[in-house]
């Protein structure tokens, strides 16, 4: 093997992509040729230097500067859904709608109420104790309108109570858990 051919194979040899037979021939040549041995050694050194783990040099005050910048930022403001506004809006809209329907469309209201009451009665046992309570409490006199308004009132009372409970007991625990 000539020196020029050996040098052409050095990169493949260093990359481990040279066939075994050619590698043996190359090694035999390098053992005999001090020039090629020197070149191969130089390439090995450069490979090792280039392939070695690289260290990233940070500025001496890097951590301090980052922390100072972080502290200078305004505190993060988590998104807070306007739940109170939603609740008040719902209550006002529901009762205005129910009142308007009772005043201006009693026949339609009775039809809607009958359908609602039928559904409530059908699903009372399996689906919702709240609806069952509403049906028993307000539907015993046979007035459909009373039953619907009673169910709405019961639902609203339960909603407000649930909201108050969540605001008082659940929210502080969630906030504490998020902070920890």
């Amino acid at each position: 093997m000539s020196c020029s051919l050996a040098e052409a194979l050095f990169e493949l040899f260093l990359d481990g992509e040279l066939a075994a037979v050619q590698s043996e021939r190359l090694i035999a040549h390098v053992d005999r040729c001090p020039t090629c041995r020197g070149v191969l050694e130089e390439l090995r050194v450069v490979d090792a230097l280039l392939l070695g783990p690289r260290r990233i040099d940070l500025a001496p005050n890097f951590s301090f500067a980052v922390m100072a910048e972080a502290r200078a930022l305004p505190p993060p403001a988590p998104y807070r859904a306007p739940i109170r506004a939603y609740l008040v809006s719902y209550l006002a809209a529901a009762w205005m709608l129910a009142g308007a329907a009772a005043l201006f469309a009693p026949q339609t209201m009775r039809a809607v109420g009958a359908a609602t009451l039928g559904l409530m009665r059908g699903a009372a046992d399996a689906v919702s104790a709240l609806v069952a309570v509403a049906g028993r409490s307000f539907g015993h006199d046979g007035s459909v309108l009373t039953a619907v308004l009673g169910a709405l009132l019961t639902f609203d009372v339960a909603l407000v109570a649930g909201f108050g409970f969540a605001l008082k007991y659940v929210q502080p625990r969630l906030v504490e858990r998020l902070r920890s």
Partner: protein
Amino acid sequence: MLRAEAEAEVRAALAELPERTRTVLALRYYDNMDYQTIATTMGLSLGNVKTLIHRGKLALAHKLKEREEVATQGVGRKSPLFGGFHELQFS
């Protein structure tokens, strides 16, 4: 510390190489690109890329030796590169 000095020497020696050679070596060894990807990226032939890398590494070795000689003459200490190569622990 020896490793950091060697890295600084290599970076300085790389900076002295022609731009195209430096780019090819950087793509090969810092971005871990294969030869074909480098050729496609730079619009070169595969053989040209292999030649550039081979000659670039030899040129880099030459530059490192020059820097080593200057360092040993100027300070009178052993360089972390070729002269002190066997002290380095390469993984």
